[in-house]
Each structure stands twice: as structure tokens, then as C-alpha cells.
């Protein structure tokens, strides 16, 4: 008897779904180890996390508010990874999108709310998109690896933002606190429920997921993305515009991350600050991988990751267990889903015949 690993021709959707769910659960189970080592009860911690994330209308609103930017950064990673464009710079693109929103939406001109919100969103999308088009172009023109460049740009962008909010766009009314001037009321996203934080950005995120789903399945661009992400040499040989497709993907990917930044400014904070994102860009990679790069799956994966963060915050306040536990769960789910991907690509079985023949 020996173990045989053979490629699968086609993995059923149910298997992919199963892998994602098992990966998320496995990550939750694995963090029981550090919790036990810290001398605490994992069961209590889990209970408090679930209660903190879904236990009341308020906590549900907090979870969905947290999921909103994660849906968009998740989609940003999903669409790029599908084309095998490694955008690890969603964090920077998010901040640039937020910056663009503040630049056009803080009183430069007046428009009625319906229009103003659109203008702010378009500005954020384009700014974030260009932020990714540049590394994609550098890759094509100079062969410079986009992974390292997008990673390094995250640090450049955050310093650039700090510089601006301490200087030209600093809010003089913020009592010396480094934050930007606020958006005008017309640019603010409407709240979905009175007295809750959940806002219009969630609608933007879900709409983006649906649009992307249609684009990937039903349009020429979707076909090109799949071809470029599959066998790039073959796509080029077949006469597909590989470079142009990658630039389009870069614009969409960066743009979605930019929209996440717009949402945080227009929906949550009202102004730009250097702590706008607690790593939404990086978590977006985990969201996309958990979703198997599926746009619709991204919405559910984002809610899972958001629930882990919101639940862990609330659990941490009650028990004193560090809320870095949430980051641990998220990191472990990425690694687990990656391993799960192995079982989607390959079938592992015991070969009894081989033993008899030998």
C-alpha cells in the first residue's frame, strides 16, 4: 500500500467550499493552543467571541461595518490574484483612495449629496487604481517585481499621509491632533440603521462583488483575466493583449482598495488619519484566499474575518486575553486554506493495487 498523489482534473464547488470552511474552523481550533498555554479556557474565549461578534443588533452592526472595507480589499486581492498579478499593496491603495476622497470632498466645491458621494467614490477609485497601475507598469517596462514594490509603497504612502495630515490638509480645529480636515456633509455615506455605525459602504462592497462576478464570468475582460492568470505564454501566443489586460486588472484592483479607503472616511470616521486602517489591506489577502478568489465568496469570507476581529476585541475586554488572538486566527486561516488548496488540486489516496503488484 502506498500513498498516491494525483492531480484532479476538476474540483467540484462543494469541495472548494468545504476547504474554506474547514480552514476557518481549523484556524479557530489551533488558537486554542496559545490560549491554553496562557492558562485560559478556549471554550470561554470562543463563546465570548461569538457573542461579541453576533450577540446583539449592535455587535452585528459592528461586524458588518468591519467587514465593509474587507470585502473591498478582499475583492482587490481576488481580482489581481486571478490574473496572477501579485498586488500586496492594498493597504497603501486604501490610504490613497481615502486621501483622494478628502481632497475632493472637503469643501473644494459644493454638490448635492447624491452627486457628491459619486464624485468622491470615483476620485478614490481612480487614485487607488493608479497607485497599482504604476507598479504593474514598472513590472512590464523594467521587469521589477510588483510584490516587493507594492509592499514597499505601503510604507511610503503611510508616511506621505502622515506628512499631509500634519501639514497642508491638517484640521486646524482638531486641537493639534494629526487628522485631516473633515468631509463636507454631502460627501458622507448615509447610515443604514439609525444610531448604528453600519453604512452605505456595505452596499458598495456587495454591489462591487456582484459586478465583479458578472465581469469575471460573462465578459471579454473576464475571459482575458482567466487566460492571463492561467497560461500567460499561451494567452500571448493566442494574441490576447496580456499587458493591457494586466493594466486593467491593476486599475480595478487598486481602485477597489481605494474604495475601501473612501468608505472608511465617508462612512466611519469623517476624516483621514494615519490609523484609518488596522491592516485592512493585508487582511484582504486572507479574505480573498479564504474565498477561493471568488467574488461572491469574498463577501462571506470578509464577514468571517470581521467577526473574528470584532469578537476578539470584545472577548479581550472581558477576559484580558490579548486581542492579537484575532490576528493569529486570520494568519492561521490563510495558511490552512493554502494547505487545503493542495487537496483541491490533488487527490490523495491509498493505492492497494501497487502493494500487491510489488
Amino acid at each position: 500500500m502506498r500513498l498516491v498523489v494525483e492531480p484532479r482534473a476538476n474540483a467540484p464547488l462543494s469541495l472548494k467550499l468545504l476547504v474554506s470552511i474547514v480552514a476557518g474552523l481549523a484556524a479557530l481550533l489551533l488558537v486554542a493552543i496559545p490560549v491554553l498555554l496562557a492558562g485560559r479556557s478556549p471554550l470561554d474565549a470562543y463563546g465570548l467571541m461569538v457573542k461579541g461578534a453576533f450577540g446583539s443588533m449592535f455587535s452585528l452592526s459592528e461586524t458588518l461595518t468591519r467587514a465593509t472595507p474587507l470585502i473591498l480589499t478582499g475583492l482587490a486581492a481576488a481580482v489581481a490574484f486571478r490574473a496572477r498579478l501579485w498586488n500586496i499593496g492594498a493597504e497603501g491603495q486604501l490610504y490613497i483612495g481615502a486621501l483622494a476622497a478628502v481632497l475632493v470632498g472637503s469643501g473644494l466645491f459644493q454638490l448635492p449629496p447624491l452627486l457628491m458621494i459619486q464624485v468622491v467614490m470615483i476620485a478614490g477609485f481612480i487614485a487607488g487604481g493608479l497607485m497599482m497601475v504604476v507598479p504593474a507598469f514598472l513590472k512590464q517596462r523594467f521587469g521589477a517585481d510588483e510584490v516587493v514594490i507594492t509592499l514597499l509603497l505601503n510604507f511610503v504612502v503611510i508616511l506621505f499621509i502622515q506628512m499631509l495630515i500634519e501639514g497642508p490638509i491638517k484640521d486646524p480645529l482638531a486641537l493639534g491632533w494629526p487628522q485631516s480636515v473633515p468631509l463636507v456633509d454631502a460627501a458622507d455615506y448615509p447610515k443604514l440603521i439609525a444610531r448604528m455605525r453600519i453604512h452605505f459602504g456595505l452596499v458598495v462592497g456587495i454591489a462591487a462583488a456582484l459586478i465583479l462576478w458578472v465581469v469575471v464570468r460573462r465578459t471579454v475582460l473576464g475571459f482575458e483575466i482567466r487566460a492571463v492568470g492561467g497560461n500567460r505564454a499561451a494567452a500571448k501566443f493566442a494574441g490576447l493583449p496580456v499587458n493591457a489586460t494586466l493594466l486593467k486588472v491593476a486599475l480595478i484592483s487598486g481602485g477597489l482598495a481605494g474604495l475601501a479607503g473612501v468608505g472608511e472616511v465617508a462612512g466611519v470616521k469623517g476624516y483621514l488619519s494615519a490609523d484609518l486602517s488596522p491592516g485592512f489591506g493585508y487582511s484582504g489577502i486572507v479574505v480573498a484566499m479564504l474565498a477561493g478568489l471568488s467574488p461572491i465568496g469574498t463577501v462571506f469570507a470578509a464577514i468571517f474575518v470581521a467577526a473574528v476581529f470584532v469578537g476578539a476585541d470584545s472577548m479581550s475586554r472581558a477576559t484580558g486575553i490579548s486581542n492579537y488572538l484575532a490576528d493569529l486566527v486570520v494568519a492561521l486561516s490563510l495558511l490552512c486554506v493554502l494547505v487545503g488548496g493542495f487537496f483541491v488540486r490533488f487527490r490523495v489516496r491509498l493505492d492497494r493495487a501497487a502493494a500487491q503488484g510489488a
Binding site: P34, A144, I149, L152, F155, S322, L332, L338, F342
Partner: protein
């Protein structure tokens, strides 16, 4: 212009340059060993954090400094083994696995630190490595203070450049490691294990990376701060390309980088009133990007970099 020369000719400037370069030397060497074997290790940023935290924590809990260094290296090796299991044995995406290892190592380090020291407001300190005083050598003009009055870890970093170069170019093991990153089929044809060589290289390279982190908490500073690694790992990944995967050039690249960083700190002191501080802080990252863009076309990547290998694979 005179001011610029004054800076470049001062001993303090070069002492600072080498000190800033030291963690990068460890990091670039580690990344180089992994990539020479065909494996990109984006876990580097997190491995720096894990090395910085674990080495420091060991000393804080009573171990001596060299034991702390060993603990850091072991922590790096463990995360290297995770990355190698996913990318070398299972053949999964090196990009995604590396990011995963960075997230895991970082969050585990932060979680451990917070759990072990729940109520500290100012980070506790240890007694770090002290500047050496080698009789004779430390008194040499210029070279003495610049090299021999650094801490032992800096000398270790420079020595390791020689060791890695010797292993890679002068031993059968090094030949096999280089071959496994260029043409794994040829290595398998020799009857050697591609998987074993790559796994070993990633583990060893990751241990080296962790020493870069350990230098931060045990020599450059005396405490562990959140966010103290601050992209140094990613800069190392850019520097490897700049150094075209050669240990000697890696040392040179790290030194140039350290010199530039030390220079901008001094420049900041003189023109800091006019130019916002963030502009200077951006320079290291911008410089890394520029270096990468300039050399990328000519870069002689290990040919099998990023390509998984399965036993018995043909072609």
C-alpha cells in the same frame, strides 16, 4: 558641499552606517540562501519580528545574550520549516505562503509579548551586547572604531558573509544548493534530494533572517517595540535582487544602504526645519524601489525561483 564631505569623512558616520547595515546583512544573507535554492521567502518580515521578540524575551527571562541569539535563530528555523513544508513539500504558492508566515510570525510574537507582559506601559529593558574592545584592533585608526568597536553581532554578520560565500562557492553542498535553484532536474539526476536541499536551505536562511531581528532588540536597542521591524524584511528582499544573489555584493548593498540611511539622518539634522521629517523616512523605501527598478532587467534570477518541484517530475 563641505558639510557633505564632513559627514562622509567622519568616523561616527561610518560606525552608524555599519550598525544600520547589520540587520540587513543578516536578512539579505538569509533571503539569498533561500532564493539560491529556488524559494522566495516573504516570511522574512515576520521572521524578523519573531527573532527580535524571542531573542529579547529569552534574555529578559534570564538567559544570557548568546542563548538569546540561539533562541531567535531557532524561532526563525521553525517558521522557515513551516514555509518550506508548504512551498517545498506541498508545492504551494511561495508568495501566499510567505505572506501567511509573515502574518503568523508577527501575530504570534505580538500575542506572546502581550500575554507574557500584560501590564507594561514602557517596554522593559535588557542589558544588550556592548561595543567590543579588541586589544590592538580597536585602536587602529578609522577601521578600529568603525569595525572593531561594534558589537559582536555585527562582527558575526560580517563573518557570516564569508561563511555563506564559502559554502555556496567552495563546497559540494553549495554547488548542490545553487543547482537546485537553477536546474533541479540535474540535481535529481545526481541522486540528490531536491526537496531535502530546498527544505534545508529555507530553514537555514530563515534562521539567518531571525538574527537580523535579534540584532534590533539585543544590540541596536535594548527593548522590543511593536512595529520596530518596519519593513526592513521587505527591503532585504529588494536588496537581494540588487546584489544579484551574491554574498559579497549583498554586504556591499547593505553597507551602501546603511550609509545612505546614516547620511539622511544627519542631513535631517541640518535641513529638518525646512523639509518635513517624513520625506527622510520615506527615502529608504523609495531607494529600495529605485534600486529594484534599475537592476531588474539585468537581474540574473535563479532560474527555478518560484517553481515548485515534485519528485520524479520530468522536463
Amino acid at each position: 558641499m563641505d558639510a557633505v564631505f564632513d559627514i562622509l569623512l567622519s568616523v561616527n558616520f561610518w560606525v552608524a552606517a555599519l550598525r544600520i547595515a547589520t540587520p540587513l546583512i543578516f536578512g539579505v544573507l538569509g533571503a539569498l540562501v533561500c532564493e539560491r535554492a529556488g524559494v522566495l521567502n516573504l516570511g522574512i518580515e515576520g521572521i524578523f519580528v519573531a527573532g527580535a521578540m524571542s531573542g529579547w524575551m529569552a534574555v529578559y527571562l534570564g538567559a544570557d545574550l548568546w542563548t538569546g541569539v540561539l533562541v531567535a535563530a531557532l524561532a526563525g528555523a521553525v517558521f522557515g520549516a513551516i514555509h518550506a513544508t508548504l512551498t517545498v513539500i506541498l508545492g504551494l504558492s511561495q508568495h501566499v505562503s510567505g505572506i501567511g508566515v509573515t502574518l503568523l510570525a508577527t501575530s504570534l510574537a505580538y500575542f506572546t509579548y502581550r500575554t507574557a507582559l500584560p501590564n507594561v506601559s514602557t517596554p522593559p529593558r535588557i542589558i544588550p551586547f556592548q561595543p567590543l574592545n579588541v586589544p590592538g584592533l580597536s585602536d587602529l585608526p578609522f577601521i578600529g572604531p568603525v569595525i572593531f568597536q561594534q558589537t559582536s553581532l555585527t562582527l558575526l554578520a560580517i563573518a557570516l558573509v564569508g561563511v555563506v560565500a564559502w559554502v555556496l562557492y567552495r563546497t559540494p553542498l553549495g554547488l548542490a544548493i545553487r543547482a537546485v535553484g537553477d536546474n533541479p532536474a540535474s540535481v535529481e539526476a545526481q541522486g540528490l534530494s531536491v526537496i531535502g536541499l530546498r527544505f534545508g536551505a529555507v530553514v537555514a536562511g530563515s534562521a539567518l533572517m531571525a538574527l537580523g531581528g535579534a540584532f534590533l532588540t539585543m544590540s541596536a536597542f535594548d527593548a522590543f517595540f511593536f512595529g520596530m521591524v518596519n519593513g526592513r524584511g521587505w527591503i532585504c528582499i529588494a536588496l537581494v535582487v540588487f546584489a544579484s544573489w551574491q554574498p559579497g555584493k549583498a554586504l556591499l548593498g547593505a553597507l551602501l544602504f546603511g550609509a545612505f540611511d546614516a547620511f539622511q539622518i544627519r542631513l535631517q539634522a541640518s535641513v529638518g526645519q525646512i523639509v518635513p521629517g517624513q520625506v527622510f523616512l520615506m527615502l529608504p523605501y523609495v531607494l529600495s524601489i529605485l534600486a529594484l527598478v534599475l537592476v531588474a532587467r539585468k537581474a540574473d534570477y535563479p532560474r527555478a525561483l518560484l517553481q515548485p518541484w515534485f519528485k520524479g517530475q520530468r522536463h
